[in-house]
């Protein structure tokens, strides 16, 4: 292991690894330290959806850019990330909700997204097994999509390693070295790595890592909430290509895995704060109830897996990104509240630019995601939570 680096990245999930890649592109010597195996925290547990359809300007702009980057990544990295633009389809069950959708579409069009309102005939063409009867209309953006959490994490890992980045798995950081308000490096057990900058990319574990730098855990109050998913046996490809979600049905959704053909289902059942990932029966009952109402033929399909992961939530469900002002050289990109996977390409490029150059062309609103907003009692409008 190197004993000196320009930047140490703590956390080998998609955010940490993609930032390491972008840092290496800018010529930095980078070491990534991951306490488990890469992706083991939240990335490998995610539902794989990628959307620009948020309900506020900052998240829409960041995700519009991220989607553009997702399209480029397989060619750029030389490894397939499995990105496909299969769309996101939100479904309204009431007239009031339909009005909200119409207003959201206006915002999206102003910001350059291709979102539009569709009727249930068109929705049925897009999702052949959709139950159209309970829904009034759909909010549809065909440019949203999904990627393989597994392939994309490894694409960044392999390419970063080829560019000289050191990635050490099963290597938990045990201390962050700070002198006179300046970050000096990190310790992993008895090994020390000196560094000019340290990035906390540990999402659900970020407060524990901040604490190593002498910061109060509540300074940036990220809390781990258990969210769960189920997956069915493979069904015919194309039956549920987009992510389909009626938000008023307890934030439930279904999305077909483009690779193995199984249908992933999620719902807004939340436990915590907790670091426990044991699946629960209440979730299974709830999610299957909604899945079989969204697409009734799923009744006859077997559920084969259920697992849990974390939404690393901030008080306003928006991530924190930037430099932590109390420790020079300590940066954070965490608290993604369920959106880290989809946001990673845009976030990581911006974070690498910030660390190396102090500025970026990525359309990321630093003020919106300011890690210190909670100290000032500021809350953003809550980021739209589904998938």
């Amino acid at each position: 292991m190197r004993s000196r680096a320009d930047v140490v990245v703590i956390g080998g999930g998609i955010v940490g690894l993609s930032t390491a890649y972008h840092l290496a592109k800018l010529g930095a010597d980078v070491v990534v330290l991951e306490k488990g195996y890469v992706g083991s925290g939240s990335t490998f547990r995610c539902a794989s959806g990628i959307r620009a359809q948020f309900t506020d300007e900052a998240n829409v702009k960041l995700m519009k850019y991220s989607v553009k980057r997702w399209k480029e990544l397989s060619d750029e990295l030389g490894y397939d990330v499995g990105f496909v633009q299969t769309g996101y389809l939100f479904l309204a069950t009431t007239e009031d909700e339909a009005d909200v959708f119409r207003r959201t579409v206006k915002l999206h069009r102003r910001l350059g997204l291709g979102t539009r309102i569709i009727d249930m005939d068109e929705a049925r063409e897009i999702v052949p097994i959709l139950n159209t009867e309970p829904f009034i209309l759909g909010q549809w953006n065909p440019e949203d999509g999904k990627a393989s959490p597994f392939k994309s994490t490894f694409a960044f890992l392999m390419r970063a390693r080829e560019m000289g980045v050191e990635v050490h798995e099963y290597t938990p950081v045990t201390a962050i070295l700070v002198e006179n308000g300046e970050v000096m490096g990190v310790k992993a057990g008895d090994r020390t790595i000196k560094a000019d900058a340290v990035l906390n990319a540990t999402n659900a574990w970020a407060p524990l890592v901040n604490e190593m730098a002498g910061l109060d855990r509540e300074l940036i109050p990220i809390k781990p909430f258990k969210h769960q998913l189920v997956k069915t046996e493979p069904i015919k490809p194309g039956l549920v290509n987009p992510l389909v979600s009626p938000p008023s049905w307890n934030d439930s959704y279904i999305i077909q895995d483009a690779e193995d053909g199984g249908v992933i289902g999620g719902a807004g059942v939340e436990h915590g704060p907790t670091y426990d990932v044991t699946p629960t029966y209440d979730f299974l009952r709830e999610v299957v109830r909604w899945m079989t109402r969204i697409a009734p033929p799923l009744k006859y399909v077997h559920i084969i897996r259920q697992w849990a992961g974390f939404y690393a939530k901030t008080p306003d469900s928006n991530p924190v990104m930037g430099e932590i002002k109390y420790v020079n050289g300590l940066y954070i990109a965490a608290g993604f509240s369920g959106h880290g996977f989809m946001m990673a390409p845009g976030v990581s490029e911006a974070m690498a630019d910030l660390i190396m150059k102090g500025r970026t062309k990525v359309p990321l609103d630093w003020e919106w995601y300011d890690p210190h907003r909670f100290e000032r009692g500021e809350l953003r409008t809550s980021a739209f939570q589904i998938g």
Binding site: S40, F44, M158, R285, Y300, R305
Partner: protein, 110 residues
Amino acid sequence: MQMRAPKGVMVLGQTDGEDPRENIIICRCNEVTQKDVEDLIDRGITDIEEIKRLLRIGMGPCQGRTCIPLVMGIIARKTGRRMEDIKVPATRVPIRPVPAGVLVGELDEE
């Protein structure tokens, strides 16, 4: 181990000249071969949790009953690790696949 036929002799289910490891199925659910597993290990990916996810071994309807022990054996052989030092990935519920309709009381158990 599969018998290799003399050169030029056609064997049903095996294309002449192919790497025989392409015909040895490790995971039936996701059609993963011995060669797929060994190629990843040769690229430096030797962690069973990572091999599992890249090849989707143990993630199909059989829940890994067949493939996981086989993959552990290949890892042990190729890396010199002992089988007992390789941690078995978490088993996911349900232990047996269940039709979704049964869980919501709309179908009877098969």
